[in-house]
Amino acid sequence: MALNYFQPLFDVIRDKDRCIKCQACARQCANEVHRYDGDLDKMISNSQQCVDCQRCVCICPTSALKIVDNPNKFRNNSNWSQQTMTEVYKQAETGGVLLSAMGNPKEYPVYWDKILLNASQVTNPPIDPLREPMETKVFLGKKPKDVTFNEDGSVNTETTPTLELSTPIMFSAMSYGSISRNAHESLARAATELGIFYNTGEGGLHKDFYQYGANTIVQVASGRFGVFKDYLETGAAIEIKMGQGAKPGIGGHLPGAKILEDVSRTRMIPMGTDAISPAPHHDIYSIEDLRQLVLSLKEATEYKKPVIVKIAAVHNVAAIASGIARSGADIIAIDGYRGGTGAAPTRIRDNVGIPIELALASVDQRLRDEGIRNEVSVVVAGSIRSSSDVVKAIALGADACYIGTAALLALGCHLCRSCQTGKCNWGIATQRPDLVKRLNPNIGYERLVNLVHAWDHEIKEMMGGMGINSVEALRGNRLMLRGIGLNEKELEILGIQHAGQ
């Protein structure tokens, strides 16, 4: 056997006084870290396989387990970190492209954490959401430039279809295939109960979930998996996926091993065949071509549904968004470089794209400057981690936010970033029946509902503090924001002043 050049990332620490050898850890670990040795009458761990998903720690009835960072370190080097060296070893061994999951974990600035919110004092009293009405309802879609009335007072303005959200939060696109059936069911039911929307991703829509169609955004991506008339008609809106924040400029690839019977039926492809989403839509090389796809989807659904175009936040995002706003799309979704993924090449995930905060600020400004902000709603994604991120995003100009990672955390994800292995011990990013059943959709959907209810209340608290009683009055209200520790250029792009100004 070849010499192993790199060391396990984690150490499994078992408190032998506490361990009762119940073997629950061994039964729960799909990575086969734990096993019981009958001859020795003891539990044995193989740290090499551990991904630090914390499943065994949570399940251990006597709290006997801890997963800690392996204290063994390569010699310190500020340039060649252990991670960088390990990646070289892996590639030298396999010749493979490094594949990672979930969002970019690198130490880039998080601008949400460098923006502070305002609150009213003395002159403009704060509002207490427990006592006074607060409006978090938003409508996504085109807004008419002006409104005219008939003589009898009725509105004489042609409006286009919109999405009505009870609170400015939606669940991001995650395909059936990349996540499990129970995860999808949890998202669908939660969206329905909350009066918001979840998104099928590009893997089609399982027949059992057509009943949640009124709260479903159906996605059309370059592979067109599961896209047909009923699918388009079932959704409340159609999203064209042009890009994804975790992997701008490249396509998707669900390995054949994950295409089991149910996923195959939903994607409408044979079992065991790779589901390849090409990097581009091969019929879209221009804004005019995009317009053609937008309009063909509208034609197929008789102009009854808003069309969303989702792009990754990249360097020229403002100009691209301006084009999309003229393409006939109703909503632009922008996914920042910290957005999650079930699998992406490490180098792409960690090095391509820009922060959503900067992308949002420049897109909103550009659309305003061009007088076309009303043509589209702007939805942002790519690491919205809390209600304060939502409030800051809206004040920077967003109409609503997509949450993906936060939703998965609500379902039990511990961000071990190993989705690509298909062995998710939490039953989320897996198709193995024994693992999927660990996620109970009855509990999962409740946890999602709890999360969004809590955020909704926090949004109201923060708005109330600012003396604002509706999301509409917060949107693009950058006076409510101040930067901290940001340079002149960053403040200029964000369109905000520094704290103290």
């Binding site: 492209v97 490094l98 059309v220 390849i276």
Partner: protein, 240 residues
């Protein structure tokens, strides 16, 4: 019912087609109107003239006959039905089509049959009479593409990069020589009698509609292209 498309925009034209209760509709004077027959089921639409892009996109079980040339994205994501083009057609014909049939009498552009896929009873078929441009059957994941090369004098009737990313389905190309520069995951062999028997039905339908003789068309040499793996990129990655 006959609908005159002269000086009618695509929106109004398609509204008329969708709202028309007749099953048999003839559109005359088409001049590039897009999205004709988009998502339509249970109709027969005959188009005189030149329909625009995305003809029969998401088609869900209708027949479309074009007496003229077609443009780009014919039958995009088509689910079922038949499209007959009595002329040439443009790029991405049959993009991601899942079932049904497309017959083109003349030539077709780039990326014909890109990402065609099959599933259970869904099995898409494309027959092109003349030649096609680059990237034929790119990412093909199912179904059958036949290129007959009529008028090519036995020369290879497909452009470069044929079968790039192909991981399902079959292509049959009538040619004296095999296409050059095929990717490693595509097998290319001379079609035998059983292969020809597999495509006889579609070649026959082509011949009957466009005035050719099936036996003559099938007499020549065909090359069969098929993928040697359903997982072409399996070895590409290292878990990190």
């Amino acid at each position: 019912m006959v609908i005159n498309a002269n000086e009618v925009g695509y929106y109004d034209l398609n509204k008329k087609i969708v709202e028309c209760t007749d099953k048999d509709i003839t559109v005359t004077g088409a001049m590039g109107q897009r999205y004709i027959g988009c998502g339509v089921s249970g109709k027969k639409i005959t188009v005189e003239g030149t329909p625009g892009n995305a003809l029969g996109a998401y088609l869900d079980g209708s027949t479309i006959i074009v007496h003229g040339n077609g443009q780009d994205a014919i039958g995009d994501t088509m689910n079922d039905g038949e499209i007959f083009i009595h002329g040439n057609c443009g790029d991405t014909t049959g993009y991601a089509m899942r079932s049904g049939k497309i017959f083109v009498k003349g030539n077709a552009g780039y990326r014909v049959g890109i990402h065609m896929k099959e599933y259970h009873e869904f099995f898409p078929k494309i027959v092109i009479g003349g030649r096609v441009g680059d990237f034929l059957g790119e990412y093909q994941a199912g179904g059958i593409i036949v290129v007959l090369g009529i008028g090519c004098d036995g020369k290879v009737p497909v452009g470069s990069f044929c079968g790039t990313g192909m991981h399902g389905g079959r292509m049959y190309i009538r040619s004296d020589d095999a296409p050059q520069g095929l990717p490693v995951q595509v097998c290319c062999e001379v079609a035998d009698d059983s292969d020809k028997a597999n495509i006889r039905e579609y070649v026959d339908e082509f011949a009957k509609n466009f005035g050719y003789d099936t036996a003559t068309l099938l007499k020549g040499r065909f090359y069969k292209l098929s993928p040697n793996t359903a997982s072409p990129y399996k070895q590409l990655y290292t878990h990190n």
